[in-house]
């Protein structure tokens, strides 16, 4: 066991981990922050996406030890300081961008990373960016729509809510 220290959602945290412990496992089991989900074991589904030093990463493919000293942001840290939903979260609710909610943390974190780099993405850009995030419930329609809406684009013309 080795001690690891990082900042998660602005708070300094530390814990003992094995060399093989994944960041996703450290968050869920070490810190009991269960908002980050694990949906696969081949780094394909994106349910585990968090931000590390401002970049979206799949926390199932980062060793906890490699996050030593890093700034990590998870879904638990996405709401506004007053607890209200952030713009992206609110757009997901407004446009029904989630059903079972399992892929949602990863979707929101990916969407936030996309909009940081590309504040007005096209439909195609969003769909391509979400290549690494699988959702089995929504058929993606309302996720893409929510992200467009969160970026301030008019989604009124897109068929159906």
């Amino acid at each position: 066991m080795t001690q690891v220290t990082m900042t998660v959602n602005g708070k300094t945290v530390s814990g003992d981990v094995e060399g093989r412990t994944l960041l996703a496992e450290f968050l869920r089991e070490g810190l009991k922050m269960t908002g980050t989900h694990i949906g696969c074991d081949t780094s394909q589904c994106g349910a585990c996406v968090v931000h590390m030093n401002g970049e979206a990463v799949k926390s199932c493919s980062v060793l906890a030890l490699d996050a030593e000293g890093a700034e990590v942001k998870t879904i638990e840290g996405m709401a506004n300081p007053d607890g209200s939903l952030s713009t992206i979260q609110q757009a997901f609710q407004d446009h029904h961008g989630l059903q079972c909610g399992f892929c949602t943390p990863g979707m929101v974190m990916s969407a936030a990373a996309l909009l940081k780099d590309n504040p007005k993405p096209t439909e195609r850009e969003i769909r391509e960016y979400l290549e690494g995030n699988i959702c089995r419930c929504t058929g993606y329609h309302n996720i893409v729509k929510a992200i467009m809406a969160a970026s301030g684009q008019d989604v009124g013309a897109i068929a159906a809510e």
């Binding site: 995030n133 729509k145 159906a160």
Partner: protein, 789 residues
């Protein structure tokens, strides 16, 4: 004007607040004090005889608490099958035992052999690697038709053969059907495969067993769509725990699509082991494990024949299907190719004579059971493909051929045992054609052609039977369960309500939509209604959520219970206002006396019920809490018309979906936003089946597509924005809300639209020999079809 609250409003989902902030409580988020972890050592061969298991080294590994093998389960029941099918000759299906841990043999890759319980999941995994297995590999049967040949290796030595049942429906009609084929002016025949799929809810299955020695009570937390069903099956048939000593909790569940209906070995194991070691035991499936342990779906091979008269009226339909059961009978597996498939073969059409033959077969593969649509996608695909082929052979418009044969009068008794209560298939087809600009298609096709692409349009209808119920009917058909639903409505003194429902929400948004219904009935704010589900300790016995039954059956139970609440509340209001009960009206949360200006508020009445100072105690009990069980008298029959436009790249065979339109008739709608979302999700799964997904086994029974590297899940860039419409509404005639169910339609109706479109594109490109391509329509398959002689 869209409504802003109550029935018909797109109320935003309240459950989203916890899911969007990382505060959901899924089963894997539950960690109990002192919990141990289990890892299952599973068979890596499809068929083998267990000669020995040596756990001695593994037991010495760090953290190991106990290793279980089949021996520990010798006195314990196997997993029960919940549906018995009777074959063509009146005999019951062959029903092999389904042990918790392998007994003597392994029968599919993934069959659990040993369970290692340790202090951590990693330790359990490591120790499992130290178990020495002596398993003699036996020849495996993977192909269904090979499995029923004489001399084929038997999956279960104790059975006569690998044939589970040979089912004929309706057996008495067989001769008349055959005669109609002899007299037909035209017969269209199609052989097709409805390939095996992995349901792939994004949350892998999890089970946490707990045992309280002080009270001898067991608790199971599990990723289930129907906790009461698990409690009954596991308690009564597997572990022998009476229901009052067993609690099953299915908290937030990350999608199900059928795969979380069934009672699985891991659930029984964790419950059993928690008592054995007197500590909580947790199991979390990896995705790789899900691929070889979650029940899979579909897997039918079918020959379908359609007979038409000289005027192109359908005169008879005949099918022969091989349906793969896998190595064991999963909970509801036998019902899927029979009663959920054969009964739908009439489709939207008035074909007078139908005969369906289904041979269910055991093979050395993962068990197969209901997956979104369950039997109905298979029926719809065959029918809508054979009709398209018939139209092509006859040189008639596929839409007109369908229209000419539509059922138009209701109720309509099909020749396959069901009665459609209501519908309007022309209306949804009209709506669809309006949505897709069919007239403009030729110009679009020409534009594609100019770019070197082949454009095609596929259109089809569908009907499905859902709101799955009548207990009496399903009992006759072999179900070993009732299919009612339940609700308890508890009104609190201060006027808020808690609805405890037997339905289960794992993405459907019941916490929002069910609250809309109750709030609307009383005329109060939706925020005053809380929906509780998923825990056998605080909900009445319910059958759970599948077969698009939640609102149609569970919602109806809730309406009935709320009606009882309102009836009692009116009595209390009549007393408070010294008026006759018959004169009391309830509107917008106010009770009034007809023809007067007297009124009392909802909250005054609820308070009186619990503070019964001024109260008719001699006639009426205090309190305000009612339960209802609802058992409908028929299925519901959503129906509609779907269209898909594709572009095929003739150089590569790659198919791109350009647009997809769905016109559905779901009867009345409670929350249009949620209904749209259900259709979107179903369409993506149907498009996934049509173009991408496949559980491919090699001849040794290894699942080749056992991870997201190889199993092609639909991703955001594989699908378009969908156009969906549900303005055609023929309300269900037999449930109080007039609702039909919308959860599966998208997955049922969409695969034929895609395949019809691709075949159309190829014909337009001059490949007129291509009459069918089996799903998934990968670039390779499409290219091959184009270039076959």
């Amino acid at each position: 004007m869209p409504k802003d609250h109550g029935i018909g409003a797109s109320s935003k989902r309240r459950e989203d607040l916890r899911f969007l902030t990382g505060r959901g409580r899924y089963t894997d988020d539950i960690n109990l004090m002192g919990q141990a972890y289990v890892h299952f050592l599973r068979s890596d061969m499809a068929h083998g005889k267990i000669n020995g298991i040596d756990t001695s080294e593994a037991e010495k590994m760090p953290g190991v608490i106990r290793i279980f093998t089949g021996k520990d389960f010798e006195g314990v029941g196997g997993l029960p099958c919940g549906w018995q099918v009777t074959d063509r000759h009146g005999n019951p299906m062959q029903e092999p035992p389904h042990p918790i841990l392998a007994q003597g043999k392994v029968r599919h890759v993934g069959d659990p052999i040993c369970a290692v319980v340790a202090e951590s999941a990693a330790q359990a995994r490591s120790a499992a690697e130290a178990i020495m297995l002596d398993i003699e590999e036996l020849p495996a049967v993977i192909d269904m038709k090979a499995a029923v040949q004489d001399g084929a290796p038997k999956v279960h030595d104790e059975l006569d053969s690998n044939l589970c049942y040979d089912w004929g429906f309706v057996e008495e009609n067989k001769d008349a059907v055959n005669k109609a084929f002899e007299e037909a002016a035209h017969v269209t025949t199609l052989e097709l495969v409805n390939q095996r799929l992995a349901p792939n809810a994004m949350e892998p299955r999890v089970a946490v067993g707990d045992y309280a020695p002080g009270t001898d009570e067991s608790t199971l937390y599990t990723t289930s769509q129907n906790p009461h069903v698990i409690r009954l099956l596991m308690g009564a048939f597997v572990l022998g725990i009476p229901e009052h000593k067993l609690r099953v909790v299915a908290p937030d569940v990350g999608g199900g699509f059928g795969s979380k209906i069934f009672h699985y070995a891991e659930e029984a194991f964790c419950t059993f082991a928690a008592k054995a070691i007197q500590r909580p035991v947790k199991w979390t499936a990896s995705r790789s494990e899900a691929f070889i342990s979650d029940a899979q779906g579909r897997d039918h091979v079918t020959k379908i024949e359609l007979a038409l008269d000289a005027d192109n009226n359908f005169t008879a339909l005949r099918t022969e299907t091989y349906a793969n059961m896998g190595a064991y009978l999963s909970t509801f597996a036998p019902s899927v190719p029979t009663w959920l498939h054969g009964t739908l073969m009439a489709g939207n059409y008035k074909t007078p004579l139908i005969y369906v033959n289904v041979k269910a077969v055991f093979t050395n593969t993962v068990p197969v059971d209901a997956y979104r649509g369950a039997g109905r996608p298979e029926a719809t695909f065959q029918l809508e493909r054979v009709i398209d082929k018939a139209a092509r052979e006859l040189g008639v418009d596929p839409v007109e051929l369908r229209r000419q044969n539509f059922v138009t009068e209701f109720p309509y008794a099909t020749p396959v045992a069901v009665e459609y209560d209501t519908g309007d298939y022309h209306a949804t087809m009209d709506k669809l054609l309006e949505m897709i600009d069919r007239d403009g298609f030729e110009a679009r096709a020409a534009e594609s052609k100019a770019r070197g692409k082949l454009r095609g349009l596929g259109i089809n209808s569908y009907i499905e039977a859902c709101g799955i119920a009548p207990s009496a009917l399903v009992g006759q058909l072999g179900a070993r369960a009732g299919l009612y639903e339940s609700a308890t409505v508890r009104v609190n003194a201060t006027g808020g309500l808690v609805v405890m429902t037997g339905s289960h929400s794992h993405g459907q948004g019941h916490e929002t939509s069910f609250a809309q219904v109750v709030a609307d009935m009383i005329g109060i704010d939706e925020g005053m209604v809380e929906i509780v589900h998923g825990d056998t300790a605080n909900t009445p016995m319910g059958m759970g959520t599948y077969g698009s039954r939640s609102l149609a059956v569970g919602g109806s139970a809730m309406v009935r219970a709320t009606e009882k609440i309102i009836a009692k509340a009116k009595k209390i209001a009549a007393h408070l206002m010294e008026a006759a009960e018959g004169d009391i009206e309830l509107k917008d949360g106010e009770f009034t006396v007809a023809g007067t200006d007297k009124s009392v508020a909802w909250g005054d009445v609820t308070l009186a019920a619990y503070v019964p100072h001024n109260y008719p105690l001699e006639e009426l009990e205090p309190g305000l809490e009612e339960t209802a069980f609802y058992d409908p008298n028929n299925f519901t029959y959503p129906a509609g018309a779907y269209a898909c436009e594709v572009e095929v790249d003739p150089d590569t065979g790659k198919v791109e979906i350009l647009s997809f339109a769905a016109a559905d008739d779901f009867g009345n709608i409670v929350n249009p936003m949620i209904v749209d979302g259900q259709v979107h999700g179903g369409l993506a799964q149907g498009i996934g089946q049509a173009l991408l997904e496949n559980c491919a086994y090699d001849e040794d029974g290894q699942l080749l597509s056992a991870s997201y590297m190889d199993y092609a899940m639909p991703r955001a860039d594989d699908v378009p924005f969908y156009a969906v419409d549900h303005s055609c509404q023929t309300p269900c005639t037999h449930n109080p809300l007039g609702v039909k169910g919308c959860g599966e339609a998208g997955a049922i109706g969409s695969p034929p639209a895609v395949v019809n479109a691709v075949v159309d594109a190829l014909h337009r490109g001059g490949h007129s020999h291509v009459m069918h391509i089996d799903m998934p329509l990968t670039p390779h398959r499409v290219w091959q079809a184009m270039h076959q002689a």
